[in-house]
């Protein structure tokens, strides 16, 4: 869909994903790296024995072509500027001080080419009091809102173990780039798109960042309530330990929802237990839609809930993750297998949907996620090539974009890469 667009990609691990999305959608994306290789090549996870590049690089640089330049060499930088003069979009996540020092900043490049869309991804934004803060995924996660409310009991707030903050920002950068490209079709002019990872994370808090502004500082978000039964269906107000259950080969996420809105799902669960003789009366026949009212009325004791929980606990220990998932679909249960990477790899659903792309990683055929969306009626997103080796497309990019390979370009990468 974007085959007509040229994207010059000056990102490191902070913005690498942006170009991947545009490449999947058809754009001609050229990744520029310093001679030493992009720092994204060593962003974890790095597999043992995979000396050259990390899986982070191999997945999020897929679809791009690559060149390498000496950023200390004026002639090399001039080649990058000439490429920028042929680009529809330049995207960078290099530090502002660096791009300004070498004249690859938005002011310089847009002075030469007013049609250029220049997208900058950074931790806090291109300008402002924290624009030059030292940053990392965890620090941005703390600054953007999703960290603080997320605690397991009394312990410190928790991040996601796979870094996420810049992925949100880089995906937003791709959207920002497309907004500017669409605007250009009406105005003829390019512009600067400034993406802050901190600001990108607000929508990853389910509205929590807005609470104080409208006068809702509800303490229950901070600590799970103990006195009130959680009737939300999502289990948001239920302690973590009551929502995790062991099954035969792993763990299950299950919240025994009750009350008029979500009690039906728990009725469905106990229907499954009944069918397999795994629960006795009177618990077997409870209507979970009315359980909260019966507790309030004194007809049920909290201890009787423990009998129900024990039945579920014993039952699930006889089931596999795959069996629980099948039952959840068939019987409409709010009960979900907690999948790890091996479960995803074995998923019949992702297989049936043609989700995977196969790329070569250091001689090993490796499956990577290949469908950001499924499109019918147009040439939809897909992985068009593996991630580039360092300087792999030097000559062909200069030929395609500039019409020839300029003598000044440092194309002697065989030596430079070592």
């Amino acid at each position: 869909m974007l085959e007509h667009l040229r994207v010059l990609d000056l990102t490191d691990e902070r913005g690498l994903l942006c170009g991947r999305l545009l490449a999947d959608l058809g754009a001609d994306v050229v990744q520029v790296e310093p001679f030493a290789g992009s720092s994204a090549r060593s962003a974890p996870p790095v597999a043992d024995g995979l000396a050259v590049s990390s899986l982070f690089w191999e997945t999020f640089a897929a679809g791009k072509r690559g060149i390498a330049v000496d950023l200390d060499d004026e002639a090399d930088v001039a080649v990058v500027r000439r490429l920028a003069a042929r680009a529809d979009v330049v995207v960078t996540s290099w530090p502002r001080d660096l791009v300004e020092a070498v004249g690859l900043d938005p002011v310089s490049l847009r002075a030469e080419r007013p049609e250029l869309v220049y997208v900058a991804v950074s931790a806090f934004g291109w300008e402002g009091p924290k624009a030059r803060y030292a940053d990392s995924d965890l620090v941005v996660w703390a600054a953007g809102g999703p960290l603080e409310p997320h605690r397991d009991g009394d312990r410190a707030p928790l991040r996601i173990s796979a870094p996420q903050a810049y992925l949100h920002a880089a995906a937003d950068a791709a959207t920002g780039a497309m907004l500017a490209v669409l605007a250009r079709s009406a105005t003829g002019a390019g512009q600067v798109v400034d993406v802050s990872a901190q600001a990108s994370l607000g929508v990853a808090t389910l509205g929590r960042v807005l609470a104080h502004a409208v006068g809702d500082d509800h303490p229950e978000w901070h600590q799970a309530p103990v006195k009130r039964t959680d009737q939300s269906g999502s289990g948001a107000a239920t302690p973590n330990s009551l929502k995790k259950w062991y099954c035969r080969d792993g763990m299950i996420e299950l919240h025994l929802s009750m009350g008029p809105a979500a009690g039906t799902f728990t009725n469905n669960l106990f229907g499954w237990l009944r069918d397999e003789g795994a629960v006795e009366e009177p618990v077997a026949s409870w209507d979970w839609r009315t359980v909260p009212d019966r507790i309030v009325a004194g007809e049920l004791e909290e201890s009787e809930l423990d009998v129900a929980r024990a039945a579920v606990r014993a039952f699930l220990l006889t089931k596999t993750k795959a069996e629980v998932l099948d039952a959840a679909i068939e019987r409409r249960l709010l009960c979900m297998s907690i999948f790890d990477m091996s479960d995803l790899a074995a998923s019949p659903h992702l297989e049936a949907r043609g989700f995977w792309a196969e790329v070569d990683v250091a001689g090993v055929t490796t499956r990577i996620p290949g469908r950001i969306a499924h499109v019918t009626g147009a040439d939809g997103p897909r992985v068009r090539r593996r991630a580039p080796r360092l300087g792999e497309h030097q000559e062909e990019v200069l030929r395609d974009w500039l019409g020839h390979a300029p003598a000044a370009a440092a194309v002697d990468l065989e030596g430079a890469a070592r």
């Binding site: 600067v192 609470a211 249960l333 499924h374 499109v375």
Partner: protein, 409 residues
């Protein structure tokens, strides 16, 4: 000034978070977005906190407000045939349709893409769902944690010695719309050049797995199964969230600051800043591998220092030394954050019931065609008249008839 999406007409049939966030972004940049809701089966996001004044009310949710600012709101009974006819008329009006019904539901109503696009080859339609429109999981009931469990996130948040905790909230709801938006805008660019529309099927589970691409690829490459590791990092040490001193302005609330040494040099700066020059000069701590062996000792040293000052003081002292640090921002801190304020990230809007309300601004600042919410999210049925009369050209008698037969509920 021309808005980036000026003239674009969008029919938003989605609900809760993942779908509505798409139309919200389009509205920010100039699209006219009509959001259809049921007035009787109230949309879940309206019942979700945070609420204005902390009071649960279907017109008080700022989660709903944030996902729907700038849209026109119309209430329709989609089970009624005349309600469905209004939707057909809105499709004829629209360039783009966004929906998030259970897969197959629109086909039952004759409102699926194949039917709607038969005489509208330029129509773009986007469906967003938990697992996608086809495949064995497509009929899954779609509660929030389902997406994060099936995409691998549930397992990847938590302490090494405790149960998996999962991410905060329905994580794939935050991921899916980002991939949906860029694909949808690419489809608009394609339509601009070819005149042809398309159908886009976005699955939250797949979007979630995409955000774990490196981890799932590593499993394919060498069989490694990624594990949760608290706040530890695969490379950097120290890397943690540390307690800081209590604050008078935030009574009863525990406070924390995130601190990271990205390089060996920054470790030295960090150790010196916290008054532990002895640690900075220790040869066994000069590399990340060495520091990992002494992680408990290092974390205790940092924690002792952070506990003796506020999170703000710790952040400022460390950043002044060039060390990555930031307090864990609470909802109250968010309003006061100098950087977000400088970006104008929080936007105050007039609201018919609350006087004013607050939403987030756009996540992308465009220098020439800046976007932003032009009005608060609609109250239930707020724009029924405008949509039916002005956009669809219905006359008073027809609108009254729809009202009388209950199609506008």
């Amino acid at each position: 000034m021309t808005a980036a999406l000026a003239g674009l007409k969008v029919l938003d049939l989605s609900w809760v978070v993942a779908g509505p966030l798409i139309g919200r972004a389009l509205a920010d940049f100039g699209a006219e977005v009509v959001r259809v809701e049921s007035g009787t089966r109230v949309e879940t996001a309206r019942l979700m906190q945070p609420f204005h004044g902390g009071v649960q009310d279907k017109e008080g949710s700022v989660l709903f407000g944030n996902c729907n600012a700038g849209k026109l709101g119309v209430t329709l009974d989609l089970k009624s045939s005349s309600g469905q006819q209004v939707v057909r008329d809105l499709v004829a009006w629209a360039d783009v349709v966004v929906e998030s019904f259970s897969p197959g539901q629109l086909r039952k109503w004759g409102l699926d893409y194949a039917t709607l696009s038969a005489d509208r080859p330029d129509l773009i339609m986007l469906s967003t769902s938990i697992a996608g429109q086809d495949g064995p999981w497509s009929t899954l009931a779609g509660f929030g944690n389902v997406g994060s469990s099936l995409s691998g996130f549930q397992n990847l948040v938590g302490w090494e010695d405790a149960l998996p905790m999962g991410p905060f909230g329905p994580y794939t709801d935050y991921v899916g719309p980002r991939l949906a938006l860029v694909t949808l805008l690419a489809a608009l660019e394609n339509r601009r050049r070819t005149g042809t529309g398309c159908y886009i099927d976005v699955a939250q589970v797949e979007a979630g797995v995409f955000f774990l691409s490196p981890q799932v690829a590593q499993h394919s490459y060498d069989g490694t199964v990624a594990e949760r590791r608290g706040n530890h990092d695969a490379v950097m040490v120290p890397h943690g969230v540390y307690p800081s001193a209590a604050e008078e302005a935030r009574p009863g609330r525990d406070r924390f600051v995130a601190v990271v040494a990205r390089t060996d040099d920054e470790w030295s700066l960090l150790a010196t800043t916290i008054g532990r020059a002895d640690l900075a000069s220790r040869p066994d701590l000069a590399t990340a591998a060495g520091r990992r062996d002494a992680e408990v000792e290092i974390d205790d040293a940092i924690g002792a220092w952070t506990s003796a000052r506020t999170a703000d003081e710790a952040e400022q002292a460390l950043q002044a030394a060039g060390v990555a640090a930031h307090k864990a921002v609470s909802t109250a801190d968010y309003v006061e954050d100098a950087q977000l304020a400088a970006r104008g990230h929080l936007v105050e809007l007039p609201h018919p019931l609350h006087g004013t309300t607050t939403v987030e601004g756009p996540r992308y600042r465009l220098s020439a065609t800046p976007g932003g919410p032009r009005r608060a999210a609609p109250t239930l049925g707020q724009d029924n008249e405008v949509v039916l009369r002005d956009l669809l050209g219905y006359d008073d008698a027809r609108i009254a008839a729809l009202h009388d037969e209950g199609a506008l509920r």
